[in-house]
Amino acid sequence: MTNHDIAKTCLGLYRKMQVIRQTEEELARCHQRGLIHGACHTYVGEEAIASSVCSHLRTEDVVFSTHRGHGHALAKGLPPKELMAELFGRQTGCSRGRGGSMHLFSPEVGMMGTSGIVGPCILQACGGGYSFKLMKTDNVAVAFFGDGAVNNGAFHEGLNMASIWKLPVLFVCENNQFATEVPFAYSAGNPSVGSRGVAYGMPGLTVDGNDALELHRVAGEAVARARAGGGPTLIECVTYRTRAHAEGMGDFTYRTREDVEEWKKRCPIQRLRTTAIEQGIVTAAELDSVDGEIKGLVEEARKFAESSPWPEAVSATQFAYSEDPVSSKVPIQNLRPAAGREITMTQATHEALSEEMGKNPGIFVMGEGIGQRGGNFKTTAGLFDIYGPTRLCDTPICERGFVGLACGAGMTGTRPVIDFMFADFVLDSVGEIVNQIAKIQYMSSGRLKMPVLLRGCIGIGHSAATHHSGNYYAMYAQIPGLTVVVPSSPYDAKGLFKRALNSNDPVIFLEHREILSVKGPVPETEYEIEFGKAAIVRPGQDVTVVALARMVHLTLSVCDELEKEGISVELVDPRTVLPLDIETILQSVKKTGRLLVVDEGFAPCGFAVDVAAQVADRGFNDLDAPIKRINGAFTPTPYSPPLEQAVVPQAETISKAIRELMRE
């Protein structure tokens, strides 16, 4: 480096650190005055880390961070006024008032979000790295996280995935020695984070986190390695936060004033200033003028925040779903054909997947055994040979890890398809789905998309027992941001799968294991089915039955017999639980006056409950009888065949319920 370059670097680092310091101090003041509404974790004392690492990053490189993320956002290029406005809850804030301190989003500058949950940023950075690898760019992804995160499964799963796939990721651990008030020395069996790198097969370093110049050097090497395809690096930065965990919290129950004062003397900003002046790199006057300039910038930022408008209350639910949900041009054909070429449901989704993979190089599939083997249910058979290991990616058994990775990949421009085999396994990753995947579009006010397709088998049958038989659609249908598809026929499965692969919203695609090989007509031409459009599987006059997946087939099996008795059943399959096509159901009940919902899932707060409640509400005057529901028994699924049969709705149960309904 030339002297000029060194001076430029010093001034640049000093400037970034000062922006962070002064902004944080102003935020602390505002918090005290009650101008900031929620929690506020400042980065005071740790400024060197974000400043040094981010000074190597380009706008296209991406940063994922934690609850203590103001510094990362500012260092990545977020203007202080957008940060302040966000904490003030204003429309001009970087998350348009939807996030606050712990949910800062500025994809425009590569700030892909801070998170109120400890851990996920590590997995999301892996996803960013995976996108860059797939798209063959030399961008890098950085995860900043605290010492509290390194004992979390996300750290383990993330570092391992990054290592085996050689992802261009920096894992930057800010070891400030406490997780809230729990000392790291207490919670870590191996209290050296840097030394853990070797356990995952990647370089691991421990650096003085308050030495900006040293950090700058180390980070520079790691970024260069990542860009060159050399894979990930773990950097432990030993540091200290000199303010309370969060503004307003008590500080001296777990550490002493003396400790804090001692660390204040090691202030990274002061340290850089002293070194730079002593070594004649910059003058005190130059640094003073930076201080003054930033003072003005922060004042301006605060005024901007205070004078910015509040978001409009009517927009409170805006951005839960994508504003432009689909991008495809394939014709929409919601109506089922009566006849034609017959294939199975698995073949139908396979066809959809291979058609779309051929068109969109951003689509990749992850799962256990979905590569060369072609999937437990043959969901990806033959595709590995065509598209190779990056697009048909076998994973270690770390559901949380690869779902978290999918989230980061979706945010950075690729389209992951996660193949779980059994939806029961998804439960290990529910936090990533519910807290991250479902919420990112909203928190980023629609500036990030979340095109993630999560598929897996549900349903009771063939003595699969309780860990391979859950029906989880109702649970996901409680989560704003998700779309939940539960198809019952090959035609629906293909059209909805194609829709999902062109949707900007995350989709949970649940296939009932007992109907995977049921054949049905599927046209050879391409088509899509819209979400939230029910199918009238069989028209009728006397009673409406709403059913999903296997229950559609079961209900259908009793319709002819009932018809002979003079009971004409109208069978409605909503196809998607969320959004739910309640209008079609209401139309049907308007005609028949009677409603039975057949739901293999559990009753409490479930799918049938929701359908019943909505019809009772909006279709009250059309009801000629009470609404009836049939649900699976409220118990884990047993193994033994007679026990299994006893917990799942049977055909006779359905016909009996329909006859009774006619007598009401």
Binding site: G593, F620, N621, D622, D624, A625, R663, E664
Partner: protein
Amino acid sequence: MPFSITIPRLGWSMEEGTFVRWLKKDGDVVRPGDAVFELEGEKAAQDIEAVDSGILRIPHDAPKPGTVVAVGAVIGFLVGDGEAVPNSINANTSTSASIPKSDAPSASAIVQSLPSRLAEGHEAPAAAPSVRRLARERGVSLSALEGSGPSGRIMAEDVRTTAKGKTMPPQAHSAQVASPRARRVAKELGIDWRRLHGTGRGGRVRERDVRAAKPQLNQLSGLTVVPVSSRRRTIANRMISSREQTASVTLMTQIDATNLVGLRTQFKQAANGSNIPSYSDIIMKLVSLALRQHPLLAARSEGDQWMIPSMSDGLHIGLAVDTEGGLVVPVVRDVGSTGLFELANQTVKLIEKSRAGTLVVSEMQGGVFTISNLGSFGIDAFTPIINLPETAVLGLGRIRREPVVVDDKIVARDQLTLSLTFDHRIVDGAPAARFLQTVSQAIENPSAWLLRSDG
């Protein structure tokens, strides 16, 4: 605690009304006496005044203009400064009764002479719909109860306590139930589902039971079902009550209206731009004179009692008016002391308001007698129905020039048929006939009667 604004009962029999519009906006300061909203009762719209003060809060689920609302339903709130705003009309609050803003004479002469029990005691007691249902099921009459709830509201407990004392087992009055759909269809077809036999579980009336009750309607395709408006239903109920509660007899007589026609011609010439008194106006005036001689025909039945106006009471007479929405009977005030041209102005105004649907309730109350004129339809005689709580109604036929024998010569004269229906419970045939005779004489010599008018 916020005060709720509720739907008041306008008149005695109103169960529901149509919410017309708010007269104040959400957030407006409301003082007692301010008109807060407009409500359409059985026949007319009325401004409703606040009895409490506060800031008006209209929840999102408050009724929209044009919706039918039950008496007692909460439609909004009055809150104090800084007080929490209930976000739904179902929120629990203390109730603020609203009182109808009345521009009517506060009480008619008849009411003043009533014993006090009748004067106050006729208001239907306040009770929630669920309590009313309970009372129906247990065969308990609400009016016999004293409410223990806030402002005397009858609570479920009150009904239960009373029901316990009754010998009649509750099953004897087995609760008649209908599915929501059956109720809706019954309403559309104008069928009272309570009279039907239910084929559903526990005797529940289902849609099929309702449809079976009107087979002719169902089998004949092409018939449209006309929803029964609440005004139509009111008219229907009143007609039935009149038929059921009175012993009505109709007398008819043909009289000579030549002088009446002549007088009207003179009025026409003298009108000078103002409203010319119609035949009905002139006859109304003459009837008021006849009623002074036969006050029993002006009696009002109030419960078990008959109230006869005294000489100092003004006589208010109703005029049946045909409108698009059905029959209404606005009442002309104090006919006796109103000059004929002024009377004409008043009836023109009342007829206009009737047709525009803007009559207020007070303009239809307090009558002692009603006149119904079907002459313009070419009708001569008919049997008018008594407008309760009055005693008699006079029907006017057409006026037509006919050959009649006068002094053994056939001459052309204007003829008119009068049809008087009276309540034989109150008046016997002879006094009623004498009244009709008086009216006939007055109409045959209108000028003389009007000139000696005593007001």
